[in-house]
């Protein structure tokens, strides 16, 4: 328990993504839950191994798209039907085929903006300060650093046991992460 105050968790750094994966499988097998892994590039399937569920990003994008399309189309319809009806080239006031194009662009815009900001929000980013940066050997500078973090609030968290375990798994560095 006292660990939680003085440290954020224990970090192990591997050279190979495969080594990291093996470590993850082992710890999950042992029943660890408060895990996080850090890789310089996406490693397929690792997230699922860490218990990742499908996110709500697609839903956000869908909503954004619908809202974008609807609002532009509404503006078009309202402006020509209600606000200032004008006979333009003898065309009908409600020329919906023409209105679709700006509305479509609005939909795309809304969708992709929600994509970016939704992703950041769900990732709780931006987060300039994070304890993991405190680990001296944590770095995205090179693409041969694959880190595994066991957070100290994990019920099974035990510094000494973990160190041994990581050493067995062939970690190049094992560090305690200050909060």
């Amino acid at each position: 328990m006292s660990d939680q105050q003085e440290q954020h968790g224990l970090l192990a750094v591997f050279d190979e993504p495969e080594a990291l994966e093996r470590a993850v499988e082992r710890l999950r097998g042992r029943g660890f839950t408060a895990l996080d892994a850090f890789t310089p590039f996406p490693v397929e399937g690792l997230a699922e191994k860490l218990g990742y569920r499908r996110s709500r990003v697609p839903l956000l994008v869908l909503i954004g798209g619908i809202v974008g399309f609807a609002s532009v189309f509404w503006l078009e319809a309202w402006s020509v039907l209600v606000n200032y009806p004008i006979n333009v080239g003898g065309r009908p006031l409600f020329s919906w085929p023409a209105f679709i194009i700006p509305a479509f662009e609005g939909g795309i815009l809304g969708g992709s903006l929600c994509g970016l900001f939704g992703m950041l929000a769900l990732n709780r980013l931006p987060k300039l300060y994070h304890p993991v940066f405190n680990a001296p050997s944590f770095s995205l500078a090179r693409d041969d650093r694959f880190a595994l973090l066991v957070m100290s609030h994990d019920p099974l968290y035990d510094r000494t046991k973990l160190r041994r375990l990581f050493r067995d798994l062939g970690a190049r560095a094992i560090e305690e992460v200050a909060p």
């Binding site: 310089p40 333009v88 194009i101 662009e105 992709s112 970016l116 931006p126 090179r142």
Partner: protein
């Protein structure tokens, strides 16, 4: 297609000499962060910067004197500015295609060129967006195209293709920016951790938004990235289609043709990939990135050019055929005048450049010879500009009432705008190379990892 690339990935790999982890990012980041900076870099930058100044001067002159300084009249009320818009937008499209569509198609070979292709999109689209505003009679009222709740005006006229353009280009710019920035975040993090000076650390740090490469983040990140790519794909098709509607919706003979949307999109890819190669070939040799931007990349790029170029050629034939098949004497004459009228020389140069280039491109040997490709790419860039010029101008020169027929020629202001915008574009590219990773580090790394994995067993 995906599979076979990976298959011969062995022979002419997408990453050659399979470097160990770490080297790649050092190599790529070195271009920006490192001290490797050849002298010609500065020379080149200076040259294009001067051209950019010419652009600034031409624009100032244009705004001061009025649109009358351009080679325009009635009936030829559109000319070089609109031509430039279409041309630049087209160039931009290649970027989005590479980054979005090839991503969805899992085309691994895109990885090492998509970053600067996206940047290319941003710059090209921004420049393209400038011209419609500059060529307004009263540019200071350009904001009237926005739906603003002010006291003195009705709303935009939603039936006008120009309004559509406005929305399409604005959206395209924003989405390209979003997509580009998303792709940049992990690399910015890499830069943050590589940066030596405190200043660089802070700048890149803030821009990286505290990215720490958490596996969970990666998962959501990739979901979002693919979704935006999925949105950008219909967008890129729609943008150039909308641009083509400027012409298609008009009843002017030579404009009024339903094949324009696909024809314009194909043309966009054609010129866009030409521009990609125009940049990629010097770039790889300048910064010795031959093992990242391999001949395989150039070859694939050339293949796309070959395909889209063939479609363009087909569209030329089609256009002429429809004009004849319509039985409409005015449209027939407009097509005839295009080839044998006042702008015939331009037309034939255009044909030679765009269709002629397909012949060498169809030979693998040529496609794998970088500097030959470079030369062909330049020719195609020219040809595609001329194509837009022919469409915009020659159609107007011979329309319905013979008494109104007229011609016009570009003035020095026109040329200032053309070459100035090119200068601006490349000057920006140089700056980008200086400041940001011009190749997606994490993707290349991922690719390298996969290739190793495959080579392992």
């Amino acid at each position: 297609m995906a599979s076979d690339i990976r298959a011969d990935g062995e022979a002419a790999g997408l990453i050659e000499g399979r470097p160990s982890y770490g080297d790649l990012s050092r190599e790529i980041a070195g271009v920006s962060l490192g001290t490797r900076r050849p002298r010609f870099f500065w020379l080149g930058f200076a040259f294009f910067f001067l051209l950019a100044l010419l652009f600034l001067f031409s624009v100032t002159w244009l705004l001061a004197i009025g649109i009358g300084t351009l080679g325009l009249n009635i009936p030829l009320a559109w000319g070089v500015p609109i031509t430039n818009t279409v041309w630049w937008i087209g160039i931009g499209h290649a970027g989005t295609l590479i980054s979005a569509i090839l991503l969805l198609l899992r085309q691994k070979w895109r990885n090492s060129i998509n970053r600067f292709a996206e940047a290319m999109t941003l710059f090209a689209a921004s420049i393209a967006g400038l011209f419609p505003i500059l060529h307004l009679g009263r540019p200071w009222f350009a904001y009237w195209l926005l739906p603003l709740p002010v006291t003195h005006m009705p709303w935009p006229q939603w039936r006008s293709p120009l309004t559509w353009d406005f929305f399409a280009i604005a959206t395209y710019l924003t989405v390209s920016l979003v997509f580009w920035y998303m792709g940049l975040i992990p690399d910015l993090a890499t830069f943050r951790d590589r940066a030596k000076s405190r200043g660089q650390q802070i700048v890149y740090g803030v821009l990286a938004l505290g990215w720490r490469g958490s596996v969970f983040h990666w998962a959501r990140y990739e979901e979002a990235y693919y979704l935006v790519a999925a949105l950008a794909t219909p967008l890129v098709v729609s943008v150039h289609s909308v641009i083509s509607l400027d012409f298609t919706v008009a009843i002017t003979p030579g404009y009024h043709s339903t094949i324009f949307p696909p024809y314009f999109v194909a043309g966009a890819l054609y010129s866009g990939f030409a521009m990609v190669l125009t940049i990629a070939v010097p770039l790889r040799s300048a910064f010795r990135l031959e093992n990242v931007i391999t001949e395989k990349h150039l070859d694939n790029g050339a293949k796309v050019m070959l395909a889209s170029g063939a479609i363009v050629a087909y569209a030329y034939v089609n256009e002429a055929f429809y004009a004849w098949y319509s039985g409409d004497e005015v449209h027939r004459y407009a097509m005839w005048a295009r080839a044998f009228g006042p702008y015939a020389p331009t037309f034939w140069v255009m044909i030679a450049a765009n269709i002629g280039s397909l012949v060498p491109l169809s030979f693998g040997a040529v496609r794998r010879r970088p500097w030959v490709l470079f030369a062909i790419a330049l020719v195609i860039n020219l040809g595609m500009w001329l194509e837009r010029y022919i469409i915009v101008v020659s159609s107007l020169a011979r329309d319905y009432l013979p008494s109104t027929w007229d011609t016009t020629t570009p003035t020095w202001t026109d040329y200032g705008l053309i070459f100035g915008s090119i200068g601006l574009f490349f000057a920006l590219m140089f700056l980008l190379v200086r400041l940001l990773p011009l190749i997606t580090i994490y993707e290349v790394a991922e690719l390298a990892h996969e290739e190793e994995a495959e080579a392992a067993p």
